[in-house]
Amino acid sequence: MALDKNKIFIVIPAFNEESVIYDVLQEVNSAGYENIIVVDDGSSDNTYTAAAKFPGVVSVKHFLNRGKGAAVKTGMEAAKILGADVAVTMDGDGQHNPRDIAKMLEFIRQGHDVVLGTRLQNPKGMPLYKIAANHIGNFFTFVFYGLWVTDSQSGFRAYSKKALDLIDTRTDRYEYDSEVIREIVRHRLKFKEIPIEVRYTEYSMSKAQKQNLKNGIKTLIKMMINS
């Protein structure tokens, strides 16, 4: 059964992405997706205004910075309010290629509930420390939630309506991505991992500093508390 394009929503969490958000929206729009929700997670720059300038984009703003997980959850709720059948989440710094969305939607059309974009099946250009950090994340996700995936920290994912209705997350920051894996196990959702392209630009690499060792340990502690 074909998917209704009017009910496919792209959810983009953004924090201080003023300089790139318009270009990201343009790229998503050029790939053929018109329903775009941008969640400005309490940015101190003009991300919200920059996103709102793009025709047809739904902009939502957190008045406080609550973290990527909280922003994605708000975006998913917004998608449900707008009547979404499918929601695709992707980062706001332009590292994900919107052309991969079509591949994800194909698996949703075939009956999968969640499609996880994985960087580790195609790690070309991915820094070694990120590959190592990812393996550690995958290991702890397996220990806490009992499901082995090749990229537990990827933010590029697609969800069917069933997944949108069932997935209920509680965490706000980077542990959110692993929590989705717990929800897949809990609700026995049908999932598929597909390789995605990630573009490591100077800009996206400078943003990646937020995911340092200290934050990695914090994420791990939060996973323990919430497991």
Binding site: L64, R66, I225
Partner: protein, 115 residues
């Protein structure tokens, strides 16, 4: 020969251990591998020590808890860690509530705009 308190303790530990393993096998809501390990460690320990109480004495000798004061200090550390964990839990819950308020406010504006 087992005493009555030993039998009761062993029975309770066995019930909790079995229920935890069954829950994990049935893939029940929120049962994770981590929880299973924790339960096996705690309740398995209780079951083992209730059946073989003499082992505790040997263990305390080997670990250097021969003196009662050392044991009290060790228990004190464990209690401090439990309290720390509880405080982290409360903080986490408060953070979650703040996020929920922020989310509701953001979505209320969206719903208002739709209408």
């Amino acid at each position: 020969m087992l005493t009555l308190p030993q039998i009761i303790l062993a029975f309770i530990a066995f019930v909790f251990l079995a229920s935890s393993i069954l829950k994990f096998l049935r893939k029940e809501k929120s049962q994770t591998l981590f929880k299973l390990f924790s339960n096996v460690f705690v309740w398995g320990g209780v079951l083992f020590f209730s059946l073989f109480p003499r082992f505790t004495h040997q263990l305390s000798q080997k670990l250097g808890f021969g003196e009662s004061l050392n044991t009290f200090i060790f228990i004190g550390f464990v209690i401090v860690f439990i309290i720390l964990f509880k405080i982290l839990n409360i903080l986490e819950r408060t953070e979650r509530n703040v996020s929920e308020i922020v989310r509701k406010e953001a979505l209320a504006k969206l719903e208002k705009n739709i209408k």
